[in-house]
Protein backbone atom coordinates (compact mmCIF):
# COMPACT_ATOMS: atom_id res chain seq x y z
CA UNK A 1 0.00 0.00 0.00
CA UNK A 2 2.66 2.47 1.00
CA UNK A 3 5.64 2.64 -1.29
CA UNK A 4 8.50 4.42 0.44
CA UNK A 5 10.50 4.99 -2.74
CA UNK A 6 7.70 6.68 -4.63
CA UNK A 7 6.97 8.71 -1.52
CA UNK A 8 10.58 9.91 -1.51
CA UNK A 9 10.34 10.70 -5.21
CA UNK A 10 7.26 12.79 -4.61
CA UNK A 11 8.64 14.52 -1.51
CA UNK A 12 12.32 15.17 -2.18
CA UNK A 13 12.07 17.36 -5.31
CA UNK A 14 9.61 19.55 -3.47
CA UNK A 15 11.90 19.55 -0.46
CA UNK A 16 14.83 20.51 -2.69
CA UNK A 17 12.99 23.42 -4.26
CA UNK A 18 11.68 24.72 -0.95
CA UNK A 19 15.06 24.24 0.68
CA UNK A 20 16.70 26.41 -1.98
CA UNK A 21 14.04 29.05 -1.34
CA UNK A 22 14.44 28.94 2.41
CA UNK A 23 18.23 29.14 2.08
CA UNK A 24 17.82 32.29 -0.02
CA UNK A 25 15.38 33.78 2.44
CA UNK A 26 17.65 32.88 5.31
CA UNK A 27 20.50 34.75 3.64
CA UNK A 28 18.30 37.84 3.31
CA UNK A 29 16.40 37.69 6.59
CA UNK A 30 18.59 35.62 8.86
CA UNK A 31 21.90 37.17 7.93
CA UNK A 32 21.26 40.59 6.43
CA UNK A 33 17.98 41.42 8.18
CA UNK A 34 16.15 42.37 5.01
CA UNK A 35 12.47 41.57 5.44
CA UNK A 36 11.78 40.07 2.04
CA UNK A 37 8.02 39.52 1.96
CA UNK A 38 7.98 39.08 -1.78
CA UNK A 39 10.20 36.07 -2.30
CA UNK A 40 7.45 34.49 -4.38
CA UNK A 41 7.83 37.22 -7.02
CA UNK A 42 11.35 36.08 -7.91
CA UNK A 43 10.35 32.45 -7.62
CA UNK A 44 7.52 33.13 -10.07
CA UNK A 45 9.73 35.13 -12.42
CA UNK A 46 12.13 32.19 -12.55
CA UNK A 47 9.31 29.76 -13.30
CA UNK A 48 7.82 31.92 -16.04
CA UNK A 49 11.19 32.63 -17.63
CA UNK A 50 12.01 28.93 -17.68
CA UNK A 51 8.62 27.98 -19.10
CA UNK A 52 8.64 30.67 -21.74
CA UNK A 53 12.19 30.12 -22.98
CA UNK A 54 12.02 26.33 -23.06
CA UNK A 55 8.71 26.13 -24.92
CA UNK A 56 9.67 28.91 -27.33
CA UNK A 57 12.99 27.29 -28.20
CA UNK A 58 11.39 23.90 -28.78
CA UNK A 59 8.61 25.26 -30.95
CA UNK A 60 11.05 27.37 -32.97
CA UNK A 61 13.50 24.54 -33.54
CA UNK A 62 10.80 22.13 -34.62
CA UNK A 63 9.26 24.77 -36.87
CA UNK A 64 5.85 25.10 -35.24
CA UNK A 65 4.18 28.43 -35.52
CA UNK A 66 1.59 28.21 -32.75
CA UNK A 67 1.38 30.65 -29.86
CA UNK A 68 3.00 28.94 -26.88
CA UNK A 69 -0.19 28.71 -24.81
CA UNK A 70 -2.43 27.30 -27.58
CA UNK A 71 -3.69 23.70 -27.33
CA UNK A 72 -1.90 22.90 -30.61
CA UNK A 73 1.40 23.98 -29.06
CA UNK A 74 0.79 21.81 -26.02
CA UNK A 75 0.06 18.78 -28.22
CA UNK A 76 3.12 19.55 -30.34
CA UNK A 77 5.27 19.82 -27.23
CA UNK A 78 4.02 16.43 -26.11
CA UNK A 79 5.12 15.03 -29.43
CA UNK A 80 8.60 16.55 -29.62
CA UNK A 81 9.67 16.76 -25.96
CA UNK A 82 11.25 13.29 -25.86
CA UNK A 83 12.97 13.33 -29.25
CA UNK A 84 16.27 15.07 -28.66
CA UNK A 85 18.04 14.51 -25.31
CA UNK A 86 20.76 17.11 -25.98
CA UNK A 87 18.16 19.77 -26.70
CA UNK A 88 16.25 18.99 -23.51
CA UNK A 89 19.36 19.24 -21.38
CA UNK A 90 20.75 22.36 -23.02
CA UNK A 91 17.40 24.14 -22.95
CA UNK A 92 17.14 23.22 -19.28
CA UNK A 93 20.55 24.68 -18.47
CA UNK A 94 19.91 27.79 -20.54
CA UNK A 95 16.56 28.30 -18.79
CA UNK A 96 18.17 28.05 -15.36
CA UNK A 97 20.79 30.63 -16.30
CA UNK A 98 18.19 33.01 -17.74
CA UNK A 99 15.94 32.50 -14.71
CA UNK A 100 18.87 33.38 -12.45
CA UNK A 101 19.78 36.52 -14.36
CA UNK A 102 16.27 37.89 -14.87
CA UNK A 103 15.03 37.16 -11.35
CA UNK A 104 18.27 38.56 -9.93
CA UNK A 105 17.98 41.71 -11.98
CA UNK A 106 14.37 42.12 -10.86
CA UNK A 107 15.49 41.81 -7.23
CA UNK A 108 18.22 44.36 -7.76
CA UNK A 109 15.91 46.85 -9.44
CA UNK A 110 13.05 46.46 -6.95
CA UNK A 111 15.41 46.94 -4.04
CA UNK A 112 17.05 50.02 -5.50
CA UNK A 113 14.51 52.68 -4.48
CA UNK A 114 13.79 51.15 -1.07
CA UNK A 115 17.16 50.20 0.39
CA UNK A 116 17.82 53.63 1.81
CA UNK A 117 14.73 53.48 3.96
CA UNK A 118 14.00 51.02 6.73
CA UNK A 119 13.50 47.26 6.41
CA UNK A 120 9.71 47.50 6.72
CA UNK A 121 9.47 49.56 3.53
CA UNK A 122 11.52 47.01 1.64
CA UNK A 123 9.21 44.25 2.86
CA UNK A 124 6.02 46.07 1.87
CA UNK A 125 7.42 47.14 -1.49
CA UNK A 126 8.47 43.65 -2.50
CA UNK A 127 5.24 42.19 -1.13
CA UNK A 128 3.13 44.45 -3.30
CA UNK A 129 5.50 43.95 -6.22
CA UNK A 130 4.93 40.19 -6.05
CA UNK A 131 1.17 40.54 -5.82
CA UNK A 132 1.02 43.05 -8.66
CA UNK A 133 3.22 40.85 -10.79
CA UNK A 134 0.85 37.91 -10.23
CA UNK A 135 -2.17 39.97 -11.23
CA UNK A 136 -0.27 41.32 -14.22
CA UNK A 137 0.69 37.82 -15.36
CA UNK A 138 -2.95 36.75 -15.11
CA UNK A 139 -3.80 39.28 -17.78
CA UNK A 140 -0.65 39.01 -19.86
CA UNK A 141 -1.60 37.14 -23.03
CA UNK A 142 1.86 36.14 -24.38
CA UNK A 143 2.38 33.75 -21.44
CA UNK A 144 -1.13 32.36 -21.49
CA UNK A 145 -2.81 34.72 -19.04
CA UNK A 146 -4.61 33.05 -16.18
CA UNK A 147 -4.17 29.59 -17.74
CA UNK A 148 -0.43 29.90 -17.86
CA UNK A 149 1.78 27.61 -19.88
CA UNK A 150 1.56 23.85 -20.20
CA UNK A 151 3.88 21.32 -21.77
CA UNK A 152 7.18 22.59 -20.41
CA UNK A 153 9.70 20.00 -21.63
CA UNK A 154 11.06 17.94 -18.75
CA UNK A 155 14.87 17.77 -18.95
CA UNK A 156 14.70 13.98 -18.83
CA UNK A 157 11.60 13.56 -21.02
CA UNK A 158 13.63 11.31 -23.30
CA UNK A 159 13.93 8.59 -20.63
CA UNK A 160 11.03 6.21 -21.20
CA UNK A 161 10.90 4.77 -17.68
CA UNK A 162 9.16 7.36 -15.53
CA UNK A 163 10.76 6.16 -12.29
CA UNK A 164 14.26 6.70 -13.68
CA UNK A 165 13.16 9.99 -15.19
CA UNK A 166 11.86 11.26 -11.86
CA UNK A 167 14.85 9.94 -9.93
CA UNK A 168 17.22 11.73 -12.30
CA UNK A 169 15.36 14.97 -11.79
CA UNK A 170 15.38 14.41 -8.06
CA UNK A 171 19.14 13.87 -8.04
CA UNK A 172 19.62 16.97 -10.17
CA UNK A 173 17.50 19.06 -7.79
CA UNK A 174 19.37 17.79 -4.75
CA UNK A 175 22.70 18.45 -6.48
CA UNK A 176 21.69 22.05 -7.11
CA UNK A 177 20.52 22.32 -3.50
CA UNK A 178 23.87 21.04 -2.22
CA UNK A 179 25.66 23.49 -4.49
CA UNK A 180 23.57 26.37 -3.13
CA UNK A 181 24.12 25.19 0.43
CA UNK A 182 27.89 25.03 0.00
CA UNK A 183 27.94 28.44 -1.65
CA UNK A 184 25.88 30.03 1.13
CA UNK A 185 27.90 28.32 3.85
CA UNK A 186 31.10 29.70 2.31
CA UNK A 187 29.51 33.15 2.02
CA UNK A 188 28.22 33.06 5.58
CA UNK A 189 31.45 31.87 7.17
CA UNK A 190 33.57 34.64 5.77
CA UNK A 191 34.15 38.31 6.52
CA UNK A 192 31.22 38.91 4.19
CA UNK A 193 28.88 36.96 6.47
CA UNK A 194 30.15 39.03 9.38
CA UNK A 195 29.30 42.23 7.53
CA UNK A 196 25.80 40.92 6.75
CA UNK A 197 25.19 40.20 10.42
CA UNK A 198 26.40 43.66 11.37
CA UNK A 199 23.91 45.16 8.92
CA UNK A 200 21.15 43.07 10.45
CA UNK A 201 22.00 44.29 13.94
CA UNK A 202 22.52 47.97 13.26
CA UNK A 203 22.62 49.48 9.81
CA UNK A 204 23.81 52.86 10.99
CA UNK A 205 26.67 51.46 13.01
CA UNK A 206 27.65 49.29 10.08
CA UNK A 207 27.70 52.34 7.83
CA UNK A 208 29.90 54.03 10.42
CA UNK A 209 32.58 51.39 10.11
CA UNK A 210 32.84 51.90 6.40
CA UNK A 211 30.51 49.25 5.04
CA UNK A 212 28.57 50.49 1.98
CA UNK A 213 25.26 49.15 3.29
CA UNK A 214 22.89 49.92 0.37
CA UNK A 215 25.32 48.42 -2.12
CA UNK A 216 25.86 45.27 -0.08
CA UNK A 217 22.12 44.77 0.33
CA UNK A 218 21.37 45.31 -3.34
CA UNK A 219 24.04 42.82 -4.41
CA UNK A 220 22.86 40.23 -1.93
CA UNK A 221 19.31 40.68 -3.20
CA UNK A 222 20.59 40.10 -6.72
CA UNK A 223 22.20 36.79 -5.77
CA UNK A 224 19.43 35.54 -3.48
CA UNK A 225 16.62 36.56 -5.84
CA UNK A 226 18.47 34.95 -8.72
CA UNK A 227 18.79 31.67 -6.87
CA UNK A 228 15.09 31.88 -5.91
CA UNK A 229 14.50 32.24 -9.64
CA UNK A 230 16.47 29.03 -10.24
CA UNK A 231 14.22 27.30 -7.69
CA UNK A 232 11.21 28.63 -9.63
CA UNK A 233 12.64 27.27 -12.87
CA UNK A 234 13.13 23.86 -11.25
CA UNK A 235 9.53 23.96 -10.08
CA UNK A 236 8.33 24.76 -13.60
CA UNK A 237 10.26 21.81 -15.03
CA UNK A 238 9.10 19.57 -12.21
CA UNK A 239 5.41 20.28 -12.76
CA UNK A 240 5.60 20.85 -16.51
CA UNK A 241 3.24 23.77 -16.16
CA UNK A 242 3.12 27.26 -14.69
CA UNK A 243 0.11 29.39 -13.92
CA UNK A 244 0.15 32.78 -12.16
CA UNK A 245 -1.96 31.51 -9.29
CA UNK A 246 0.76 29.11 -8.16
CA UNK A 247 2.68 32.13 -6.93
CA UNK A 248 0.38 33.58 -4.31
CA UNK A 249 1.75 35.38 -1.25
CA UNK A 250 1.10 32.34 0.94
CA UNK A 251 4.15 30.68 -0.66
CA UNK A 252 6.35 33.45 0.72
CA UNK A 253 4.94 32.98 4.19
CA UNK A 254 5.39 29.24 4.02
CA UNK A 255 9.08 29.81 3.31
CA UNK A 256 9.18 32.36 6.13
CA UNK A 257 7.76 29.80 8.54
CA UNK A 258 10.45 27.35 7.42
CA UNK A 259 13.16 29.84 8.28
CA UNK A 260 11.56 30.78 11.60
CA UNK A 261 11.11 27.15 12.61
CA UNK A 262 14.59 26.02 11.61
CA UNK A 263 16.51 28.98 12.97
CA UNK A 264 17.32 32.34 11.50
CA UNK A 265 20.93 32.94 10.62
CA UNK A 266 21.70 29.26 10.25
CA UNK A 267 21.69 27.55 6.87
CA UNK A 268 21.14 24.11 8.36
CA UNK A 269 18.18 25.45 10.28
CA UNK A 270 16.67 26.63 7.01
CA UNK A 271 17.17 23.12 5.61
CA UNK A 272 15.50 21.58 8.64
CA UNK A 273 12.54 23.96 8.41
CA UNK A 274 12.15 23.22 4.71
CA UNK A 275 12.18 19.48 5.34
CA UNK A 276 9.62 19.69 8.14
CA UNK A 277 7.14 21.80 6.23
CA UNK A 278 7.53 20.11 2.86
CA UNK A 279 7.07 16.75 4.60
CA UNK A 280 3.96 18.08 6.30
CA UNK A 281 2.72 19.25 2.92
CA UNK A 282 3.26 15.81 1.35
CA UNK A 283 1.86 13.85 4.29
CA UNK A 284 -1.36 15.81 4.41
CA UNK A 285 -1.80 15.47 0.64
CA UNK A 286 -1.30 11.72 0.89
CA UNK A 287 -3.69 11.47 3.86
CA UNK A 288 -6.21 13.42 1.82
CA UNK A 289 -5.75 10.90 -0.97
CA UNK A 290 -5.89 7.81 1.24
CA UNK A 291 -8.83 8.78 3.45
CA UNK A 292 -11.13 10.65 1.16
CA UNK A 293 -14.14 10.20 3.48
CA UNK A 294 -12.75 12.23 6.40
CA UNK A 295 -15.08 14.95 7.70
CA UNK A 296 -12.28 17.53 7.41
CA UNK A 297 -9.83 17.84 4.57
CA UNK A 298 -6.36 17.05 6.01
CA UNK A 299 -4.95 19.89 3.93
CA UNK A 300 -6.58 22.31 6.34
CA UNK A 301 -4.80 20.62 9.21
CA UNK A 302 -1.56 21.50 7.51
CA UNK A 303 -2.10 25.22 8.03
CA UNK A 304 -3.26 24.65 11.60
CA UNK A 305 -0.17 22.58 12.35
CA UNK A 306 2.02 25.20 10.68
CA UNK A 307 0.55 27.92 12.86
CA UNK A 308 0.77 25.84 16.02
CA UNK A 309 4.41 24.94 15.29
CA UNK A 310 5.33 28.58 14.79
CA UNK A 311 3.68 29.59 18.06
CA UNK A 312 5.34 26.76 19.98
CA UNK A 313 8.75 27.51 18.49
CA UNK A 314 8.49 31.21 19.20
CA UNK A 315 7.45 30.51 22.77
CA UNK A 316 10.01 27.89 23.71
CA UNK A 317 12.84 28.33 21.23
CA UNK A 318 12.62 31.86 19.87
CA UNK A 319 15.86 31.50 17.95
CA UNK A 320 14.59 28.46 16.06
CA UNK A 321 15.43 24.79 16.45
CA UNK A 322 19.04 25.24 15.38
CA UNK A 323 20.16 28.54 16.86
CA UNK A 324 22.54 30.92 15.16
CA UNK A 325 26.25 30.39 15.77
CA UNK A 326 29.22 32.76 15.52
CA UNK A 327 30.68 32.67 12.05
CA UNK A 328 33.59 30.31 11.57
CA UNK A 329 36.72 31.83 10.16
CA UNK A 330 40.36 31.22 10.90
CA UNK A 331 40.26 34.14 13.33
CA UNK A 332 39.10 31.77 16.07
CA UNK A 333 42.15 29.60 15.53
CA UNK A 334 44.37 32.49 16.59
CA UNK A 335 42.55 32.55 19.91
CA UNK A 336 42.79 28.78 20.23
CA UNK A 337 39.05 28.19 20.18
CA UNK A 338 38.76 26.73 16.72
CA UNK A 339 38.61 23.04 17.60
CA UNK A 340 36.26 23.49 20.54
CA UNK A 341 33.12 22.16 18.88
CA UNK A 342 35.06 19.26 17.44
CA UNK A 343 36.40 18.37 20.88
CA UNK A 344 32.92 18.57 22.37
CA UNK A 345 31.56 16.40 19.59
CA UNK A 346 34.22 13.73 20.12
CA UNK A 347 33.55 13.76 23.86
CA UNK A 348 29.81 13.37 23.24
CA UNK A 349 30.40 10.46 20.86
CA UNK A 350 32.69 8.76 23.38
CA UNK A 351 30.06 9.20 26.07
CA UNK A 352 27.39 7.66 23.85
CA UNK A 353 29.69 4.73 23.06
CA UNK A 354 30.22 4.24 26.78
CA UNK A 355 26.47 4.20 27.43
CA UNK A 356 25.96 1.76 24.58
CA UNK A 357 28.69 -0.49 25.96
CA UNK A 358 27.03 -0.50 29.35
CA UNK A 359 23.63 -1.15 27.80
CA UNK A 360 25.03 -4.10 25.86
CA UNK A 361 26.74 -5.51 28.94
CA UNK A 362 23.50 -5.17 30.82
CA UNK A 363 21.59 -6.91 28.04
CA UNK A 364 23.94 -9.87 27.79
CA UNK A 365 24.08 -10.00 31.55
CA UNK A 366 27.78 -9.46 32.13
CA UNK A 367 27.77 -8.35 35.73
CA UNK A 368 31.46 -7.46 35.77
CA UNK A 369 31.20 -4.73 33.17
CA UNK A 370 28.43 -2.90 34.93
CA UNK A 371 28.27 -1.73 38.47
CA UNK A 372 30.30 -0.04 41.09
CA UNK A 373 33.70 -1.19 39.80
CA UNK A 374 33.34 0.64 36.48
CA UNK A 375 32.19 3.80 38.20
CA UNK A 376 35.10 3.51 40.60
CA UNK A 377 37.60 3.12 37.82
CA UNK A 378 36.15 6.10 35.99
CA UNK A 379 36.75 8.38 38.93
CA UNK A 380 40.42 7.60 39.19
Amino acid sequence: MFDILSFLISWLPLFGIYAILSLCLNMEVGYAGMANFGLVAFYGIGAFVAGYTSITIFLTIYGYNYPIYSPEAIIAMGRVAGKTPWLNISVFILSLILAFLIAGLAGYLVSYPTLRVGPAFLGITILSFGEMLRVFMKHFAPTGGAYGMLGIPHPFAWIPDSAIKNTSFLILTLAILIGVLIYFELLANSPYGRVLKSIREDETASLCIGKPVPQIKARLLFVASGISGVAGALYAFYLGAVTPDMFITAVTFEVWSMVILGGRGNNFGALLGASVFSLLNRVTSILNFLFSDLPIDPNYFRWMITGALIVIILMYKPKGIIAEKPIKTEAWKIFGAYGETRRKLIAAILRIINYLKRAIYWLIGRETGYGPDIKGSKRE
Binding site: L187, E201, C208, I209, V223, T329, A331, I334
Partner: protein
Amino acid sequence: MDPILRVQNVSKKFGGVEALKDVSLEVKRGSVTGLIGPNGSGKSTLFNVITGFYKPDFGSVYFEGKRIDGLNPDEVYNMGIARTFQTPRLFGPLTTLENMMLSPKGQKGESLLKAPLRKTWLNEEIQLANEVKNLLKEFDMDGLYKMFASDLSGGHVKMVETSKGILGRAKLILLDEPTAGVHYAVGKNLFEYINYLRKTYNLTFFIIEHRIDLLFDYVDYVYVLHMGRLLSEGTPEEVASDPKVIEAYIGGA
Protein backbone atom coordinates in the same frame (compact mmCIF):
# COMPACT_ATOMS: atom_id res chain seq x y z
CA MET B 1 50.88 72.03 13.79
CA ASP B 2 48.53 71.72 10.86
CA PRO B 3 44.85 71.06 11.51
CA ILE B 4 43.70 67.55 10.68
CA LEU B 5 40.08 68.65 10.63
CA ARG B 6 38.76 72.02 9.58
CA VAL B 7 35.11 73.00 9.83
CA GLN B 8 34.32 76.18 7.94
CA ASN B 9 31.18 78.28 8.43
CA VAL B 10 28.92 75.27 8.76
CA SER B 11 25.19 75.90 9.16
CA LYS B 12 22.48 73.31 9.45
CA LYS B 13 18.75 73.81 9.82
CA PHE B 14 16.07 71.32 10.73
CA GLY B 15 12.83 72.96 9.70
CA GLY B 16 12.75 76.12 11.74
CA VAL B 17 15.42 75.06 14.19
CA GLU B 18 18.88 76.29 13.48
CA ALA B 19 21.00 73.51 14.93
CA LEU B 20 24.29 74.98 13.77
CA LYS B 21 24.92 78.61 12.94
CA ASP B 22 28.12 79.51 11.15
CA VAL B 23 30.39 77.22 13.13
CA SER B 24 34.08 77.23 12.30
CA LEU B 25 36.67 75.24 14.20
CA GLU B 26 39.90 73.33 13.80
CA VAL B 27 41.23 70.17 15.37
CA LYS B 28 45.02 70.03 15.52
CA ARG B 29 46.80 66.84 14.54
CA GLY B 30 47.76 64.72 17.53
CA SER B 31 45.65 66.69 20.00
CA VAL B 32 42.77 65.76 22.24
CA THR B 33 40.16 68.40 21.55
CA GLY B 34 37.02 68.76 23.59
CA LEU B 35 33.59 69.94 22.53
CA ILE B 36 31.24 70.97 25.31
CA GLY B 37 27.95 72.73 25.60
CA PRO B 38 24.55 72.37 27.21
CA ASN B 39 22.04 69.85 25.85
CA GLY B 40 20.65 70.80 22.48
CA SER B 41 23.56 73.05 21.62
CA GLY B 42 24.34 71.19 18.39
CA LYS B 43 27.32 69.06 19.41
CA SER B 44 25.96 65.81 18.05
CA THR B 45 24.69 67.55 14.94
CA LEU B 46 28.19 68.81 14.32
CA PHE B 47 29.52 65.24 14.63
CA ASN B 48 26.85 64.03 12.25
CA VAL B 49 27.82 66.69 9.73
CA ILE B 50 31.49 65.76 9.98
CA THR B 51 30.83 62.03 9.55
CA GLY B 52 28.49 62.45 6.61
CA PHE B 53 25.14 61.66 8.19
CA TYR B 54 23.91 65.17 7.48
CA LYS B 55 24.85 67.40 4.61
CA PRO B 56 25.49 70.95 5.82
CA ASP B 57 23.18 73.61 4.39
CA PHE B 58 26.10 75.93 4.15
CA GLY B 59 29.83 75.73 4.71
CA SER B 60 32.37 72.98 4.27
CA VAL B 61 34.39 70.38 6.16
CA TYR B 62 37.99 69.54 5.32
CA PHE B 63 39.88 66.49 6.50
CA GLU B 64 43.63 66.54 5.83
CA GLY B 65 43.05 69.22 3.23
CA LYS B 66 40.36 67.26 1.35
CA ARG B 67 36.76 68.34 1.34
CA ILE B 68 34.57 65.66 2.95
CA ASP B 69 31.13 67.22 3.36
CA GLY B 70 28.69 65.50 1.02
CA LEU B 71 30.43 62.15 1.27
CA ASN B 72 28.53 59.14 2.62
CA PRO B 73 29.34 57.91 6.14
CA ASP B 74 31.14 54.81 4.85
CA GLU B 75 33.31 56.96 2.59
CA VAL B 76 34.13 59.28 5.48
CA TYR B 77 35.18 56.27 7.56
CA ASN B 78 37.39 55.05 4.75
CA MET B 79 39.13 58.43 4.69
CA GLY B 80 40.17 57.85 8.30
CA ILE B 81 37.52 59.27 10.61
CA ALA B 82 35.97 56.85 13.10
CA ARG B 83 33.20 57.77 15.50
CA THR B 84 31.27 56.39 18.43
CA PHE B 85 27.72 57.15 19.45
CA GLN B 86 26.18 58.47 22.64
CA THR B 87 24.64 55.08 23.28
CA PRO B 88 27.15 52.32 22.55
CA ARG B 89 26.48 50.67 19.23
CA LEU B 90 28.26 47.37 19.25
CA PHE B 91 26.57 44.49 17.47
CA GLY B 92 25.01 42.67 20.42
CA PRO B 93 24.62 39.07 19.27
CA LEU B 94 28.10 39.09 17.73
CA THR B 95 31.13 38.23 19.82
CA THR B 96 33.74 40.79 20.82
CA LEU B 97 36.13 39.24 18.34
CA GLU B 98 33.63 39.56 15.50
CA ASN B 99 32.83 43.12 16.52
CA MET B 100 36.46 44.09 16.38
CA MET B 101 37.18 42.17 13.20
CA LEU B 102 34.48 44.21 11.47
CA SER B 103 36.23 47.52 11.74
CA PRO B 104 39.33 47.14 9.51
CA LYS B 105 38.46 48.76 6.23
CA GLY B 106 38.77 47.31 2.75
CA GLN B 107 38.90 43.66 3.77
CA LYS B 108 39.18 41.38 0.75
CA GLY B 109 36.79 38.81 2.19
CA GLU B 110 34.01 41.35 2.46
CA SER B 111 33.27 41.40 -1.25
CA LEU B 112 30.56 39.09 -2.50
CA LEU B 113 32.80 37.64 -5.20
CA LYS B 114 35.85 36.89 -3.08
CA ALA B 115 34.07 35.69 0.05
CA PRO B 116 33.52 32.09 -1.14
CA LEU B 117 37.18 31.81 -2.15
CA ARG B 118 38.75 31.29 1.24
CA LYS B 119 42.31 31.46 -0.03
CA THR B 120 41.99 35.05 -1.16
CA TRP B 121 41.31 36.41 2.31
CA LEU B 122 42.72 33.79 4.65
CA ASN B 123 46.07 35.45 5.31
CA GLU B 124 44.50 38.85 5.82
CA GLU B 125 42.02 37.37 8.27
CA ILE B 126 44.72 35.67 10.33
CA GLN B 127 46.80 38.83 10.37
CA LEU B 128 43.85 40.90 11.55
CA ALA B 129 42.96 38.35 14.21
CA ASN B 130 46.50 38.54 15.53
CA GLU B 131 46.22 42.29 15.65
CA VAL B 132 42.96 42.06 17.59
CA LYS B 133 44.53 39.59 19.98
CA ASN B 134 47.48 41.86 20.68
CA LEU B 135 45.25 44.85 21.18
CA LEU B 136 42.97 42.98 23.59
CA LYS B 137 45.96 41.64 25.48
CA GLU B 138 47.45 45.09 25.75
CA PHE B 139 44.45 46.21 27.77
CA ASP B 140 43.84 43.00 29.71
CA MET B 141 40.70 42.19 27.80
CA ASP B 142 41.87 39.05 26.04
CA GLY B 143 39.48 36.87 27.99
CA LEU B 144 36.58 38.73 26.45
CA TYR B 145 37.04 37.67 22.86
CA LYS B 146 34.24 35.13 22.76
CA MET B 147 31.78 37.02 24.92
CA PHE B 148 28.78 38.43 23.16
CA ALA B 149 28.98 42.19 22.95
CA SER B 150 25.59 42.45 24.65
CA ASP B 151 27.08 40.74 27.72
CA LEU B 152 30.05 43.11 28.08
CA SER B 153 30.11 45.56 30.95
CA GLY B 154 29.63 49.25 30.25
CA GLY B 155 33.29 50.10 30.70
CA HIS B 156 34.46 47.31 28.43
CA VAL B 157 31.98 48.35 25.75
CA LYS B 158 33.51 51.83 25.69
CA MET B 159 37.03 50.40 25.56
CA VAL B 160 36.11 48.06 22.68
CA GLU B 161 34.40 50.87 20.79
CA THR B 162 37.43 53.09 21.14
CA SER B 163 39.85 50.34 20.11
CA LYS B 164 37.83 49.63 17.00
CA GLY B 165 39.03 52.95 15.65
CA ILE B 166 42.63 51.75 15.87
CA LEU B 167 41.85 48.58 13.94
CA GLY B 168 40.17 50.70 11.30
CA ARG B 169 43.41 52.68 10.91
CA ALA B 170 41.55 55.85 11.75
CA LYS B 171 43.56 59.05 12.09
CA LEU B 172 40.84 60.98 13.84
CA ILE B 173 38.40 59.50 16.32
CA LEU B 174 35.23 61.33 17.28
CA LEU B 175 33.89 60.23 20.65
CA ASP B 176 30.36 61.19 21.60
CA GLU B 177 30.18 61.22 25.41
CA PRO B 178 32.61 58.38 26.11
CA THR B 179 32.05 58.46 29.86
CA ALA B 180 28.26 58.67 29.88
CA GLY B 181 26.85 56.10 32.24
CA VAL B 182 30.09 54.87 33.76
CA HIS B 183 31.56 55.48 37.19
CA TYR B 184 34.00 58.34 37.74
CA ALA B 185 36.97 55.99 38.27
CA VAL B 186 36.15 54.00 35.13
CA GLY B 187 35.76 57.26 33.25
CA LYS B 188 39.19 58.35 34.43
CA ASN B 189 40.59 55.02 33.27
CA LEU B 190 39.01 55.55 29.89
CA PHE B 191 40.62 58.95 29.53
CA GLU B 192 43.98 57.46 30.53
CA TYR B 193 43.41 54.89 27.82
CA ILE B 194 42.56 57.58 25.28
CA ASN B 195 45.71 59.46 26.22
CA TYR B 196 47.76 56.28 25.84
CA LEU B 197 46.25 55.52 22.43
CA ARG B 198 46.97 59.02 21.23
CA LYS B 199 50.63 58.70 22.06
CA THR B 200 51.22 55.14 20.82
CA TYR B 201 49.12 55.21 17.67
CA ASN B 202 49.51 58.88 16.76
CA LEU B 203 45.80 59.51 16.89
CA THR B 204 43.76 62.65 17.17
CA PHE B 205 40.69 62.72 19.37
CA PHE B 206 37.71 65.02 19.19
CA ILE B 207 35.48 64.44 22.21
CA ILE B 208 31.99 65.54 23.22
CA GLU B 209 31.73 65.32 26.98
CA HIS B 210 29.44 66.48 29.74
CA ARG B 211 31.82 65.49 32.54
CA ILE B 212 33.80 68.67 32.34
CA ASP B 213 35.80 67.86 35.47
CA LEU B 214 37.15 64.73 33.79
CA LEU B 215 37.56 66.23 30.36
CA PHE B 216 39.55 69.27 31.43
CA ASP B 217 42.32 67.13 32.92
CA TYR B 218 43.06 65.54 29.57
CA VAL B 219 42.27 67.91 26.71
CA ASP B 220 44.55 70.37 24.98
CA TYR B 221 41.89 72.62 23.56
CA VAL B 222 38.16 73.11 24.14
CA TYR B 223 35.34 74.47 22.00
CA VAL B 224 32.07 75.53 23.59
CA LEU B 225 28.85 75.40 21.60
CA HIS B 226 25.69 77.16 22.74
CA MET B 227 22.42 77.33 20.79
CA GLY B 228 24.25 76.24 17.65
CA ARG B 229 26.87 78.94 17.87
CA LEU B 230 30.48 78.76 18.89
CA LEU B 231 30.47 80.53 22.25
CA SER B 232 34.04 80.25 23.33
CA GLU B 233 37.29 78.43 22.67
CA GLY B 234 40.69 78.03 24.24
CA THR B 235 42.70 75.95 26.65
CA PRO B 236 40.69 74.40 29.51
CA GLU B 237 41.82 77.13 31.90
CA GLU B 238 40.75 79.91 29.58
CA VAL B 239 37.37 78.34 28.94
CA ALA B 240 36.73 77.59 32.58
CA SER B 241 37.21 81.21 33.49
CA ASP B 242 35.17 82.59 30.60
CA PRO B 243 32.09 84.30 32.07
CA LYS B 244 30.02 83.57 28.94
CA VAL B 245 30.55 79.83 29.41
CA ILE B 246 29.63 79.97 33.07
CA GLU B 247 26.49 81.86 32.20
CA ALA B 248 25.51 79.38 29.47
CA TYR B 249 25.98 76.45 31.82
CA ILE B 250 24.40 77.85 34.91
CA GLY B 251 21.68 79.40 32.78
CA GLY B 252 21.65 83.14 32.94
CA ALA B 253 18.91 85.41 31.72
